[in-house]
């Protein structure tokens, strides 16, 4: 009882702090200095239509490399923690998945993969990008696992895709030091016509690599979690 009461008191205190923050908050009328720099210079300097993508891939590209590294670490730790789990062979056969799920999987799987690839290749033009596209790719894996929970994926293939795209990401970043202004500079390739698919220098390539890497990492987490399933 006293526990519940202190919990409610804590939440009420926190809630009043939030309420104070919300009531005194007033939205800015114009962009601050950083944001207006991004708004004015993105199209001219980088050729990317999506300013969020330009910030993530180029202006703050190093942070994205760190973020991808954090994801890699997470996938590695999940794999490590769950690898020691006992993998029992299924004691009984699973009932077959329903016809709807099986046909739906066959029909949707290529479309989902295609949509994921579309989202990360068009990251510099439309809302979306490598992280979103990678998550969509991994959702295709999730659908496969739903239709057949005993499905096993090749860990080697996932590792190869993941490490190859990670290494290429860093390599393109180093190319930026040599041929353009700095690490992860996208102007190692011509900027092209604004708004075209082949524009914005190296941004589509980097975001494709990020998409593949994130997709592989999410898939490896899903696979590690699904392999712990005891039947």
């Amino acid at each position: 009882m006293i526990k519940r009461l202190s919990l409610i008191l804590l939440l009420a205190g926190l809630g009043s702090v939030f309420l104070g923050l919300m009531l005194t908050y007033s939205a800015d009328e114009s962009l601050n200095q950083t944001a207006s720099y991004y708004a004015e210079h993105t199209a001219k300097d980088l050729g990317a239509a999506n300013i969020v993508t330009a910030i993530i891939v180029t202006y703050r590209g190093l942070d994205t490399l760190g973020e991808v590294t954090v994801l890699f670490l997470t996938a590695a730790i999940v794999g490590l923690v769950l690898a020691q789990a006992k993998r029992r062979e299924p004691g009984r056969a699973l009932p077959p998945a329903g016809e709807l799920l099986l046909t739906g999987t066959r029909l949707l799987l290529p479309l989902i993969l295609l949509f994921g690839a579309y989202v990360f290749i068009h990251g510099h033009l439309t809302p979306g990008g490598g992280f979103q596209g990678g998550a969509i790719l991994a959702s295709a894996m999730l659908l496969l696992l739903l239709s057949n929970p005993l499905q096993r994926f090749s860990h080697r293939l996932i590792t190869v895709i993941e490490s190859a795209s990670g290494a290429l990401f860093v390599f393109i970043g180093v190319l930026g030091i040599v041929y353009a202004g700095g690490f992860l500079d996208n102007r190692i390739l011509p900027i092209g016509t604004f708004g075209e698919l082949f524009s914005a220098g190296a941004i589509p390539i980097i975001y494709t690599l990020v998409g593949l890497k994130v997709g592989a990492e999410f898939s490896s987490m899903l696979v590690s979690l699904s392999e712990t399933e005891e039947l």
Binding site: L7, L14, D28, T42, A49, I51, I56, T64, T74
Partner: protein, 119 residues
């Protein structure tokens, strides 16, 4: 108005998430509660970047390059939240993996059974 609704929902989700995390004894429920609180934080951050009468920070026919600074909302919180969502997913996956290991050691997901770190 819109920004108040979004921000209020965000703060509410944070409070609901904290309540769930502190009130439940089942580890899986605590993980779900943390995910809810995480969503709330993201919602608050995005709503801070909102500005009345402006549009998404994507330049196209509707937002000419020359008027970009006067027509788009702040892109920085959006980039920040994109990062936060991805890291939040990683944290959730880690919590689930550890929950599985905890379940293996004690055969229970009740937090009261795991008393090694209690003082």
């Amino acid at each position: 108005m819109l920004v108040t609704i979004a921000m209020g929902c965000g703060f509410l989700l944070i409070l609901i998430g904290l309540f769930g995390a502190l009130n439940n004894r089942n580890i899986l429920r605590m993980i779900v509660a943390f995910a809810v609180a995480n969503t709330g934080v993201n919602l608050v951050l995005v709503s801070v970047g909102y500005m009345r009468g402006r549009t998404a920070p994507i330049l196209n026919d509707a937002v000419p390059v020359a008027e970009a600074a006067a027509r788009i909302i702040d892109p920085v919180p959006q980039a920040l939240v994109l990062t936060a969502i991805v890291i939040g997913l990683g944290v959730t996956a880690l919590m689930l993996a550890y929950a599985y290991k905890l379940y293996q050691t004690k055969g229970s997901l009740d937090i009261a059974k795991h008393s090694e770190l209690k003082w």
